[in-house]
Amino acid sequence: MSSEVSRVSGVSGIGRSAALSDNAARLEASGLAKRFGGFRALDGLSFRLERGEILGLMGPNGSGKTTTINVVSGVYSADGGEVCLDGKPVTALAPHRRVRLGLNRTFQVPRPLRGLTVHQNVEVAAVYSGAGTDVVAQCLEWAELAHLAGRRASTLNNSQQKRLDLARALATRPRVLLIDEMGAGLNPAELETMAHKLCALAEQGVALVVVEHVLGFLQMVSSRVIVMNAGRAIFEGTVAAAAEDPEVVRVFLGERHH
């Protein structure tokens, strides 16, 4: 695997530390484990993400996709494994520290600060992450929420709340952004617009992990996907290859038979 190759070449390089940080992925998760009681929600998950890359994360319900985002963002503490941002471990850091280092995420069920206005939701993130209030207007514009800036977040519909979640995350100027099921509930036109926006972010150098059920959406944004089952990666490759992979097919069909 490519991650193995670069790790080895990093160690054998001449300027060891320099080579290591040059080759360090923007985000690297290794051997992530998370248990809820006796249940292993994550069971040794590893992946790498380069600058400007969009990695798709698929898998049946309950396979651990959201848990992956929770553990990487620090919302849940890991029971094992490590998360590195640009080669530096962040596994022990509180979520707000990871945010300030450039790691952010959205929620499958959006979680805006409901009693605050749309503007305040984005403003507080811009201020406290250190990005500065200059980015607020830009993020609201990006998420097509500028005309709703004065509204209470609780009055937004689901699609608007999802975009607010994204605007809040963007206001922290993330280098890595983890997006949990953006596609659910969007119509085809909205899906396509969102895909373009995410691709534009990646072109600016943001690395994205996109958890998604909508295959068409994944095909638009990412060349590489990881398929999860029972807390492990069972496949890594293109979306097209995933659809052909017998184990992936079995896992998804298995879900339907339950």
Binding site: G74, V75, A94, H96, R111, L113, N121, S129, R168
Partner: protein, 302 residues
């Protein structure tokens, strides 16, 4: 913002001038004291959601620290106020771990902490220091006018603190934390740090208030300054009017304390019961108090 500043200035002005027109200065002083405490509760509950039933612990700590620094260290009463505030903040620092608890667990642990302070202060073995259960006599420093003025200044400070919280980035962060802790963290907010600041600010106000009370009242007992009633009154006044606003606790204190003074002082035990029930009712059915009714009617509360 302008409306809030005007409300604050009017309130402080009212109490500064009231003794000229109204003879019962002690009643005015008590009303101010509860106003400060209600705003102190507001700083914590309104902006973080923690309901501190042991709030009186800070008040009592401030009263004793202030009084003892006059009696034992010979400090001037004004300096003693500062000591009262500082000691309450130190108590707050010791109790910071309580903030890890939530809801009823926090309320109970905070109440127990206040009770523990009471037992320490009233312990006969500490009579040489605190005079134990026999209380404090601060007659040497008695000055009704100066201590009244100190409470007016303190009222100004308490109101300014709330105005600041409503219009500053710290206030925005605290409201974000109250809305959703996780989302607040993902906005980059250091939840533990900002919460601790609110907790200590709230402790400071109560400590200063306790020291000013000790100065004004001059003779008091441990039961007086560690009475659970002080917490209950301050909480009900803050919640009734509406937490997280400036005007809510002002209205709540003036209405409910006015009512209590008019009919309750002869039967205080009924009011303990009634106020206790009012707290339950408010928390369950009207968590944002009268202010939320007024906002529903389209009138923004400063």
């Amino acid at each position: 913002m302008l409306k809030a500043v005007l409300t604050g200035v009017a309130t402080v002005g009212l109490f500064a001038l009231a003794p000229v027109f109204y003879a019962n200065q002690t009643l005015l002083f008590s009303a101010m004291m509860y106003l400060v405490l209600a705003q102190g509760i507001n700083v914590l509950y309104g902006f973080t959601g923690y309901l501190p039933f042991g709030y009186v612990g800070f008040f009592g700590a401030g009263a004793y620290a202030g009084a003892l620094s006059v009696l034992r260290l010979g400090l001037s009463p004004v300096l003693a106020l500062v000591v009262g505030g500082v000691v309450a903040v130190l108590v707050g620092v010791v109790l910071v771990p309580l903030l890890r608890l939530s809801g009823a667990y926090f309320a109970i642990a905070n109440l127990a902490a206040a009770q523990a302070l009471y037992y320490v202060v009233s312990n006969p073995d500490l009579q040489a220091l605190t005079n134990g259960p026999y209380g404090i006599n601060l007659a040497v420093a008695y000055n009704a006018t100066a201590s009244y003025a100190a409470m007016v200044a303190l009222l100004g400070l308490a109101l300014a603190t709330v105005v600041y919280l409503r219009h500053s980035r710290l206030g925005l962060a605290l409201r974000a934390i109250r809305e959703d802790r996780i989302s607040a963290e993902l906005a980059g907010i250091n939840v533990v740090r900002e919460r601790t600041i609110a907790w200590l600010l709230s402790a400071l106000l109560a400590g200063l208030c306790g020291a000013a009370f000790a100065w004004y009242i001059s003779v008091f007992y441990p039961e007086t300054v560690f009475s659970l009633n002080v917490s209950i009154f301050a909480i009900v006044f803050a919640l009734f009017g509406g937490a997280a606003t400036l005007a809510g606790p002002i209205v709540g204190t003036l209405v409910l304390y006015g009512l209590y003074s008019a009919i309750g002082i002869s039967q205080p035990e009924y009011f303990q019961l009634i106020f206790g029930l009012v707290i339950v009712g408010l928390v369950l059915f009207l968590p944002d108090g009268l202010a939320s009714l007024s906002e529903r009617a389209g009138f923004e509360v400063p």
